[in-house]
Amino acid sequence: MARKLVSGNQAAGHTLAVAGEANREARGCICGAYPITPQTEIIEFLRAYEFTKGRVVPVESEHSAMAVCMGGSLAGARSVTASSSNGLAYMTENVFAAGYYRLPIVMIAVNRTLGPPWNIWVDQGDSLMLRDAPWLQFYTESHQDLVDTILLAFRVAEDPRILLPAMVAMDGFVTSHTQMGVDLPEQELVDRFLPHCIVPHRLRSDHPTTIGGLTWPKETEHHRIEIQRAMERVPEVLAEAISEFEEIFGRRPHGLLSAEHTEDADVILVASNSMARTLRGVVESRREAGEKIGMIKAKTFRPFPREAFESAVGKTAKVGVLDRNHSPGSGGIFWQEIVTSLRNQPDTMVQDYLVGLGGGDVTPEILHEIVDDLISRSKSVEPVWKEVASR
């Protein structure tokens, strides 16, 4: 296994490419690609990649990028793309369409602040804007997590029990543009891990159907229920995929979430993406100092693993949620989901912290402050803004 020093974008590009190439003996790979900072490097990587059976279509917009993926997927190919921020916003109509079509497209979302005013730096508000779309969503903390999660995303999305598109998020610049060492998956291993992509309802001349036409309320309701059932099967399918991944690649990626030092913790902090790594360092140092601090790395956002959260938190009295996103008039989006997950645990206090929005630099010191704040609280209040950029 080759360990390389690459950017997050290059790691993602490589993984999408080998995954696409892995379908060369089936119906190939298709990508609709439109560049946007900080995702651009992924698109350039894919355009340069020489697929045995694949095409990267340089389209005129994100809306069409997803449309090309839908067309490709409707024709039975493995379909991939990547976007960010306003690109995702512009793509939104087709993001929903791809999900309702039940097409297992895999998209990289490089998190970036939505604008205008223009801001190119990290904020999860873009991918979380799509939380109500029928997509799986995974949030990754490092290059290795990113690479492994992309491969898992293909496995789960294309599984006949699921057949839903999947989005894999990483932090803009903080992950996408940072050079780090990573085990890049080799083609041969990926070929073993990923079965051929089969879109069972692809358009075929011998079985003509109209996909996406007028649908009455009773069928629409039924289709929504079908999507929910598929979402509910994700934990099981993901667990199977992780076991097989471990067999082939010799390492075990995180699944729905990663609960660390939670069993005896007095307080637990929850974070996602790169902030979860920073948090891990802080938690480890506080543990060394004898404090009963635990953490949960939130990885799978859709479906939201409520049961896993409930059991990881257990009887812990205080939970702090770090949200690098903001739903105006409400608060952090992870917080909302976690509060819902802990609805049967009235003794647990859940406090939200809005931190690092608009690309603000999140340092260990800031996280220490948050830990201290959480320990000191006896009652939760409205989400707390930890303004970091002004320091």
């Binding site: 190939g28 059976k53 279509v57 389209v59 809306h63 067309g71 190919a77 075929r204 007028l214």
Partner: protein
């Protein structure tokens, strides 16, 4: 070919069905339906796959899980037909499948919301046949103006007649240097079929614009639709011509002495005095002068085509 009556739905034999089967919900006398029947004659055996954006053309398919179409259809989002078709065709090509990918779109999805997507697919010279059935109105939503609505026409959003001119989509498409662009008339069957045959033989992006009579939107009698288009062609309002590679032009039917009155007096969308026949005639004259100049300057070489 319309060979068999289609009243034996239960166990239909899809190999002999026309592309648009009976039992569809298009209005009586719909021009698009005629276009689809002729499309069927030429393409039925070519395994067509259609990408249809939001428009009457997809509503007519009927409700899930049935389909009034006997070929695979992707009902795309409004602006996405040409991009979805790109994906479909790319995968077909990489798998060396012999089929034809077709976008079947109304004027809204072509002239307006889908124009960027269409332009991009044309610029990439995707191997797609794009057919716009242009009824000059947002028919699916009940008859609002589009940029294809001609000057003077009354719609629910231009209640005293549209004051702007109709967009020249053919000029736009020709400017993309696509291998083939042509206008189609449902009153000129031989010309229509011939152009579909050319489109079928040509590789790359092919754009066909069909003026589609819409009795509901045009407020005309369903039985008059084909005659209306014949008048539109004869009086010069809708020239039948074709453009090869964006720079070789040929007019297929010359205008004659038919008066625009024949066309506008049979449609209530024109009969509110919002535009006079003389004004329209002047516009037609000017357009023809321009078209004739272009054709003289850039003629299609008959031997080369």
């Amino acid at each position: 070919m319309n060979v068999v009556p289609l009243n034996m739905n239960a166990n239909c034999d899809t190999t002999c069905d026309p592309v648009l089967r009976a039992g569809n919900t298009n209005c009586a006398g719909c021009g698009m339906s005629i276009g689809l029947q002729w499309f069927s004659e030429v393409f039925r055996d070519s395994k067509p796959i259609l990408a249809i954006p939001a428009c009457c053309g997809i509503v007519t398919a009927g409700a899930f899980p049935t389909s009034a179409y006997s070929v695979p259809i992707a009902a795309t989002t409004f602006a996405s037909a040409a991009a979805v078709a790109t994906g479909l065709r790319s995968v077909a090509l990489m798998n060396t499948e012999e089929n034809v990918t077709v976008c079947w779109a109304g004027d809204g999805g072509t002239y307006d919301i889908g124009l960027a997507t269409l332009s991009a697919a044309a610029e990439r010279n995707e191997d797609i046949i794009y057919i716009c059935y242009d009824n000059e109105i947002y028919g699916n939503t009940g008859g609002q103006r589009s940029s294809a609505t001609p000057e003077g026409v009354v719609t629910s959003t231009t209640t005293s007649g549209k004051s702007e001119r109709k967009k020249d989509i053919m000029a736009i498409m020709a400017a993309h240097h696509i291998p083939y662009a042509a206008t189609l008339s449902v009153a000129h069957r031989e010309d229509f079929i011939r152009k579909l045959e050319i489109a079928k033989k040509t590789k790359g992006f092919r754009f066909l614009l069909m003026l589609s009579p819409c009795p509901t939107g045009w407020k005309s009698e369903p039985e008059d639709g084909v005659d209306l288009i014949r008048y539109a062609v004869r009086c010069g309002l809708f020239p039948l011509y074709e453009v090869y590679d964006g720079d070789r032009y040929r007019i297929n039917v010359e205008r004659d002495q038919t008066s625009i009155e024949e066309y506008i007096t049979r449609q209530r969308r024109y009969t509110k005095g919002s535009i006079l026949a003389e004004e329209l005639t002047q516009l037609i004259d000017a357009r023809w002068q321009k078209l004739k100049r272009i054709v003289r300057a850039f003629p299609a070489d008959d031997n080369k085509v």
